[in-house]
Amino acid sequence: MTEASRFTQHALSEWMKGEGPDSDIVISSRIRLARNIREYPFPMLATNGQSKEVAELAAKVLESEELGTISRFTLLPLADLDELQRRVLVEKHLISPALANESRNGAVILSDNESISIMVNEEDHLRIQCLCPGFQIKEAWDLAGQIDDVFETQLEYAFDEKRGYMTSCPTNVGTGIRASVMIHLPALVLTQQINRILSAITQVGLAVRGLYGEGSEALGNLFQISNQITLGQSEEEIIDNLYSVVRQIIEHERAARQRLIHETRPKILDRVSRSYGILSYAAIMDSKEAAQRLSDVRLGIDLGFIKNVSPHVLNELLVMTQPGFLQQTAGEKLTPEERDIRRAQLIREKISAAG
């Protein structure tokens, strides 16, 4: 087994197996810090030699003892990964499409449980990312801060008293922080309150993004909520703001779920059970339908209607049913039609194995 395949063969990262708080609604919490090294041009303008040096500097930090106390890490140069492996890492949210496709001397540093991923030579020299299961945005910030501190003792960051951490893009300057949570809001969608909520979220300086499949519509009632502002607010203010808004959304979603149970119980039971049945028996399944049906089953589990499927299986299927992972499992390139057949088969196996 190669170093890379250790991270690409499983769909479910070790950190995803943990039960985070509010995990009936919040799938995961993520912090990303953008950092650059003084003296070196940002990756967009760096020469081949300069970006190579940056990669070497980052690799050297791996040898530091302090980092070793946090986790064991593996450095994967993108040049050593084939196209499919890169795609799988993107589908697991461990690297960005930009790092996979366009970076020069790009690399990723991954912790053993895959909760920490440090991208090298993406848009900035370093992108430190920490992921936690459930609603643990403050915990993710703690962890990212620790990693940041270690890198800071080894490297001289590009930092300015007035502008803070200097980044390639003006939208990241200051704290360089992007805090985001992935959240499942089926009841707010079903009760048609979602538009009002999305509007309210953007009003308080947060951005919301639907999760995509191959098409162009928000899929599976999954949304990613993140901060827009990085300059002029402290990290704590940014995280507190996101935290309190998400906390309120969680309460709205819970209330909407209770209402669904009380007012339309047979209808919601029917919807959830049908999706469960279809996932258990269908022979062809496109990504859009899969996302919607998996969302229904997730809701069914959270409402107590479905008892024999673990939410972990759903998290695993979210990644496993993506094109890159399907093709890696098949060991060959697949047409969209072939993928739909494979996807249905995989879901059947996973769901019935759990049942």
């Binding site: 003084r38 070196y40 041009p41 940002f42 967009m44 303008l45 960005s96 499409p97 930009a98 496709n101 366009e102 940041d148 501190d149 800071e152 003792t153 001289e156 960051y157 590009a158 930092f159 300015d160 008293e161 007035k162 502008r163 803070g164 951490y165 200097m166 980044t167 390639s168 893009c169 003006p170 939208t171 990241n172 300057v173 200051g174 704290t175 992007r178 538009n195 999305l198 509007s199 979220i201 953007t202 009003q203 300086g205 951005a207 919301v208 993004r209 639907g210 995509y212 162009s216 519509e217 928000a218 993140s226 827009q228 502002i229 990085t230 300059l231 002029g232 607010q233 402290s234 990290e235």
Partner: protein, 172 residues
């Protein structure tokens, strides 16, 4: 909700843009977002919300500042990027660009973040002095409040604290 650009597809990106101090909501679909995102070279597939935000940045200088630009073309001497190129690409070339483009950046940061000055984390190795300076600023504010409230004893204590810190800053 439907995309406000094409009016056909489902909007999947939701955010606000601050223009002249006024917040405008955006709700657009992936396709329209991608079209806007493509304004930024180097990110054809690596589209993200941040690319989009910077793609929507109104970098067009006002008539007034265009004159100023022509009179004094600004260029980062470290990496060679000109302000004009920066406006087009939406990316800095290096950390020195911040210095060379200087105060020109204030309106841009104001538009994107509503702020121009960082108040968050400071790297420890370069941050000792910055931390003291910030503490001094805060203490000065506290002292004024004490004086206004005629709490002179406490104000004097704070004054002494400020003197200590200023000594540390002077010593480097």
């Amino acid at each position: 909700m439907l995309c406000q650009e094409c009016g056909k597809k489902q909007a999947t990106l939701h955010f606000t843009k601050i223009l002249n101090g006024e917040k405008t909501e955006f709700h657009i679909c992936e396709t329209c977002a991608r079209e806007k995102g493509e304004l930024i070279p180097g990110t054809p597939n690596g589209f993200s919300i941040h690319n989009l935000l910077s793609g929507l940045l109104d970098f067009e200088p006002s008539a007034h500042s265009t004159v100023a630009n022509k009179a004094q073309p600004s260029r980062c001497e470290h990496c060679g990027l000109t302000y004009g190129q920066f406006s087009k690409v939406g990316r800095f070339g290096c950390s020195e660009c911040y210095k060379y483009f200087g105060d020109k950046l204030d309106p841009l940061f104001k538009r994107v973040h509503g702020n121009t000055v960082h108040i968050g984390k400071v790297p420890k190795r370069s941050g000792g002095l910055i931390k003291y300076k910030r503490e001094i600023d805060q203490l000065k504010k506290d002292m004024l409040i004490r004086i206004e409230n005629e709490e002179f004893e406490q104000a004097a204590q704070i004054r002494d604290q400020i003197r200590e810190l200023e000594k540390k800053v002077a010593e480097g």
